[in-house]
Amino acid sequence: MVASSCGETSSTKKFQTEAVGNAGFLARHNGEIFREGRSFSGNERDKLFLNQGDGSFLDVSDLSGADSANDGRAVIAFDADGDFDVDLFVHETQRERHALYRNDIQVPVEENGAIKVQLRAVTGNEEAIGATVVASVGDTKVAQVLSRGAGFVSCQAPELIFGLGVEEMADVTVHWPGGGSETFTELNSGTAYLLVEGVGRAQVLDVVERPLPDPMRRGVNVRVGEKVTSIPVQGEGGAVLALDVAELSAGKDVYLNFWASYCGPCVAELPILDAWNTAGEVSVVAVSVDAPSARERAAALLKERAPGLALRFSVDPPPSGAPAAPAAIVDLARLPLPTTLILGPDGTVKRILQRPVDEEKDRPGSK
């Protein structure tokens, strides 16, 4: 549908490399196709290529956790929390536009440490932008360039981070803009330095450590301690209900469980939830997130595995494309299954389980 038109069928033979079609250009910058919701080179996730030390790379993007498909543009690679590794800020084009990726590679510090350097020039511009900084680590040398404005519309923080691998120290040579070179020796792992031109001795910088918070639980839009007072669901026959948590609870905890018929671990835990519910220890709301086409199968499974639980479905997504209810509680597009929220009688979220319930540890009343 986009820019589809046949030129001459023999155009293969008369290949015109310089020819420019307006249609192609316009398609790329044509809002119409995007308004309709089509992709154009879409679902291309951000990439992470791991250097194997010799200039050959492994594509580990899939397991990076930093591979959003929100069409990233700018990226800042910096030590956001002062823990001597490289975190990433990515400016995406849509939806969750600001992404901050905390580096959780968690290699032991004694094995893979780092030094950080900032520069201060004396002869030219103080910021020494464009300086080449070479760290000699063991037998290898690695060069980085101090930039302000590179990549695509990205301005990095003026601090270079050098991984040391198993080494404990490095010598650092700075090629200052203007032509002078200078080596700063024996910089220690786990230390940040200011390298001042002409001084020859690295000055230790204080590091502000400010650990980044843990993320919200994936796909869950409420935090522990916040309240869920009403749960919108679809009942049998499609009627949309707002379940009142206080009413459901009658003084007991409410286990709000999200499951699907295709999810093996979910189906396996249904009898446990059913038994707790039947024993009156808790009130269980089990919400199937199955697509409408699979609801019949879900109903049959629930009847067989957990006959005491009422049949509840997530609410069909509205035609507007807005997220499906209960969006205030969970984001169904991102929610891992099974997920169970344990709510107190007043709706306060006490715990969030993103795994099957454990018959002992998660038994009502357990901590």
Binding site: T17, S41, N125, G130, K141
Partner: protein
């Protein structure tokens, strides 16, 4: 109106398709319905008895012959390929949402295929990648019986049904040939990719290649045969990075691209620096609707302060940089904008803005030398801004990459477009005797860097090792520039001589040592296209080898150029080294993410992801 008008269904060059991955032909030759069956039952073993429980399937059932009368019209083949690709994306979408009941529509009744699971591991068992990644290759030549449709669907369900979350499923068409005749059938080369999370939080990626036969019996392509040729899997106990923007106070959720609130093609950047001098890294993020200045707080969060700090400015900025332009010891902020002069002479869009820091993180917009109430006097369609002192006077200058005005202009070539808008070089004028900051003037012409290629990105470094700073500029729709600083306030282009002209669709560039030899190499983020490569695979007989090689490069993706020892040039790293396989890449950061002592590559990727499963 920010969007260009819907294109007229006029001429579309193959060049456009190569670069942009557009379908090259309309549906005039689409297969007609109701035509006699052909192809679907040729050569293969199912021409006799229908496949079903009654018959034992063997590996012989998976033999997919090549079409003996292949279509030779590139347009026809590409149109059919797009149809198959769209069907597979719809299938991928159902699988991602785990609508297993909806899958049968994508297979013929007599489908036969290799299972996706139950293959033996290849000799040697799982191998370890760095960072505790466990990797398994499966022996798909092994002795596993083929499955019918029901069995195949069950096999798919076994693979992704056990996951706690499906992050992504993509089955892409990487090559195709179609049999001539009234009924369409084709042999297609598929790349499979499935990504998810297992209970307990471990990550799992499944990837493979397959040959398939697709048939079109009622206007829809369906998979009829499916033979895996490669299958592998990687897992890691937990992701390497955890996204914490919401918890850290940085979250900004905005509309889908293509909606009224988000439809501008003026891509927004990001900048980091220490705005308030407290030793941690703050962030400036220009955006649609408003700017964000995030000040780092001691508790690991950021607080947004654009209005209070004086940088609310006009929104929709592109490249932004922190630098100390007036040399008073704090970080000033320059923000690029897309601006132009209307044919009648009026001002359109926005101009580059400059905000001066008072030393405590409060900014005042500069309205002095070169800058008025609406920003810099001259309009640029500005993207990446790059600060460096090109003339060695101690004051930082700024190169401005200028693109074309996409709302009204078209590139005049797919391989050497020169009708973008002229780049700028804002030379800092320093201070007068009273200490008054004099601002900037555009010295691009004087310095010899006026260039009307479609420039998106630049990076500065001393590439020729003579002490002054040179500048690489990555251009879309053409060759790049390596502006070699002559040391006298002028530049000469050395891109060809240094081997980095790299004709392609340059979107981003950065210097960093990727070969661990102490010399900064050059990474260029380019565009590549599945459709483009598909078409090229079929064109080799029809065009001369040089043109083919050049076009192949255009569609090939990113480039890594290793610096030589003498500062005279660069050499492209072989494709086999990897590190370049993004698709539509943008920015790149060369940095040591695992702290093992070498620089890794992070690269943003993707043009526009819509809500529908169809891609162009």
């Amino acid at each position: 109106m920010r969007f260009a008008k819907r294109p007229d269904p006029t001429f579309l060059s193959i060049g456009a398709a190569l670069v942009l991955g557009l379908s090259a032909c309309g549906g005039e030759e689409a297969p007609s319905e109701g035509a006699p069956t052909e192809g679907a039952t040729t050569e293969s073993a199912d021409s006799g008895a229908p496949v079903g429980a009654a018959r034992v399937l063997t590996a012989q059932d998976l033999v997919i012959p090549d079409p003996d009368r292949p279509h030779d019209s590139v347009e026809f083949v590409e149109t059919e390929s797009e149809s198959v690709a769209d069907r597979l994306l719809a299938f991928s979408d159902k699988l991602r949402k785990r609508e297993f009941e909806a899958l049968s529509d994508f297979f013929t009744e007599d489908f036969v295929g290799s299972p996706l699971d139950s293959w033996p591991k290849k000799e040697g068992g799982p191998t370890e990648w760095p960072l505790d990644i466990s990797r398994t290759e499966f022996d798909v030549e092994g002795d596993v019986a083929p499955l019918d449709r029901e069995g195949f669907e069950a096999s798919i369900q076994r693979v992704v049904g056990g996951w706690s979350r499906v992050e992504s499923v993509l089955w892409k068409v990487k090559g195709a040939e179609f049999q001539k005749g009234l009924r369409s059938w084709g042999k297609v080369r598929l790349k499979l990719h499935l990504l998810g999370e297992q209970p307990g939080g471990s990550m799992v990626a499944v990837h493979g290649w397959a040959d398939a036969r697709v048939t079109n019996r009622d206007g829809k392509y369906r998979l009829d045969r499916f033979r895996l040729t490669e299958l592998g899997q990687e897992t890691r106990q937990r992701p390497m990075f955890v996204e914490v923007a919401a918890a850290a106070g940085l979250a900004h959720t905005w509309a889908r691209f293509g909606t009224d609130a988000n439809q501008s093609f003026h891509w927004n950047g990001a900048a980091s620096g220490d705005v308030d001098g407290d030793g941690d890294w703050d962030l400036f993020v220009p955006s649609d609707g408003k700017n964000f200045l995030y000040l780092a707080q001691p508790d690991g969060t950021w607080s947004e302060s654009a209005v209070a700090s004086g940088v609310a400015g006009p929104p929709e900025g592109t490249g932004a940089i922190f630098f100390d332009c007036d040399r008073d010891g704090d970080q000033d902020l320059m923000v690029g904008h897309v601006g132009w002069r209307e044919p009648g002479g009026g001002a359109g869009g926005e101009r580059i803005r400059l905000y001066l820091n008072d030393g405590k993180g409060k900014y005042t917009e500069f309205q002095g030398g070169g800058f008025g109430p609406n920003g810099f006097g001259k309009a640029f369609i500005a993207y990446t801004l790059t600060a460096f002192d090109y003339d060695g006077d101690g004051w930082l200058d700024v190169h401005v990459c200028a693109y074309g005005r996409v709302e009204s202009e078209h590139n005049d070539s797919w391989i050497e477009a020169t009708n973008g808008s002229p780049n700028g070089l804002l030379r800092c004028l320093g201070k007068d005797a009273d200490g008054t900051f004099l601002g900037f003037e555009d010295a691009a012409e004087k310095a010899g860097v006026v260039d009307s290629r479609w420039s998106y990105a630049a990076a500065a470094s001393d590439v020729d090792l003579d002490g002054d700073i040179d500048l690489f500029v990555a251009n879309d729709y053409g060759s790049n520039r390596m502006w070699v600083n002559q040391g006298d306030g002028t530049f000469k282009d050395g891109a060809e001589a240094m081997g980095v002209a790299d004709r392609g669709n340059g979107m981003g560039a950065a210097f960093g040592d990727l070969t661990s030899d102490g010399r900064p190499d050059l990474y260029i983020a380019n565009m590549s296209s599945t459709a483009g490569n598909r078409i090229l695979g079929r064109l080799s007989d029809d065009i001369d080898p040089d043109t083919h090689a050049m076009l192949k490069k255009l569609a090939a993706g990113n480039s890594i150029f290793a610096a030589g020892a003498d500062g005279k040039g660069f050499e492209r790293l072989p494709r086999g080294n990897g590190g370049i396989g993004a698709s539509w890449a943008w920015s790149t950061a060369l940095t040591d993410l695992d702290l093992d002592g070498d620089l890794d590559v992070f690269c943003t990727n993707g043009f526009v992801t819509g809500k529908l499963p169809f891609d162009t």
